[in-house]
């Protein structure tokens, strides 16, 4: 699996984490899977972080917001391909919390490290396994193609 994203959308995704620093940002990746099995991201949708505590190291997307995004995307012939969030002053790698709270198998979880307010590294991880079996879930590194 790989993730394909245009430069403008890529910049928008990373800028979101800078704007919410020192809090975590979060959002949704929309698009479609192309004929080669590559996730082609056409747009990102910013979401508000619904956590009322620990905004610096936790995020939660309001399910109602997800319902609206999923419904609107479907009407445009697009799908939810994954999600993004930031790690303020921490590396762009997944945490045990990220894995425990991940349930969208086959989708991408993109993480941007924001150091002192500036976006540095961004990585993508594809969630594999069975979402109903915690012990069988895993993240695998995913190539990001910025075009």
């Amino acid at each position: 699996m790989a993730l394909k994203i245009c430069r403008l959308t890529w910049d928008e995704l990373r800028r979101h984490g800078e704007e919410t620093y020192p809090h975590e940002c979060c959002g949704v990746l929309l698009g479609e899977v192309d004929g080669e099995g590559v996730k082609a991201v056409r747009a990102v949708v910013r979401c508000s972080n619904q956590r009322s505590d620990s905004l610096h190291n936790r995020y939660l997307i309001d399910p109602h917001e997800l319902v609206r995004i999923q419904r609107d995307a479907r009407e445009r012939g697009q799908d939810i391909l994954g999600f993004y969030h930031s790690h303020p002053d921490h590396p762009a790698c997944w945490s045990q919390t990220d894995l425990a709270e991940a349930h969208w198998t086959g989708c991408s979880y993109v993480i941007t490290s924001v150091m002192n307010g500036s976006a540095t590294e961004t990585n993508s991880f594809n969630l594999g396994g069975n979402p109903a079996e915690d012990e069988n879930k895993y993240f695998e590194n995913e190539e990001i193609r910025v075009e």
Binding site: Y59, P63, L66, V67, R71, P91, C93, H103, C107
Partner: protein, 96 residues
């Protein structure tokens, strides 16, 4: 009514993004859905028969937890959305 299936659960619905279901309540809808696609049952319900904590079910724009859960009435014109939750964040127990 139409039930919108989220990306990760489509592997259990023959890749269908939406499924037509005939039901008068949310409970009947879930029962019909899992009868049509038995592999969905493990994804939606835990061993005690309750909806998994990370599975959200909405009737149009309303969370069934704030309605009448499985007894929530449904109309033919309703759209039901199933969305697994999305959350996370960095912690000290990094795996990489």
């Amino acid at each position: 009514m139409k039930v919108l299936i989220p990306t990760p659960l489509r592997q259990y619905t023959g890749k269908q993004a939406s499924v037509e279901v005939s039901a008068h309540t949310v409970g009947e809808m879930l029962s019909d859905l899992t009868s049509q696609f038995p592999d969905l049952r493990q994804q939606l319900f835990s061993d005690d028969g309750k909806l998994r904590r990370f599975v959200n079910v909405y009737v149009n724009d309303e969370d069934i937890r704030y309605l009448e859960n499985g007894n929530t009435p449904l109309k033919e014109s309703d759209t039901v959305s199933i969305v697994p939750s999305v959350a996370g964040g960095e912690d000290n127990g990094r795996s990489q």
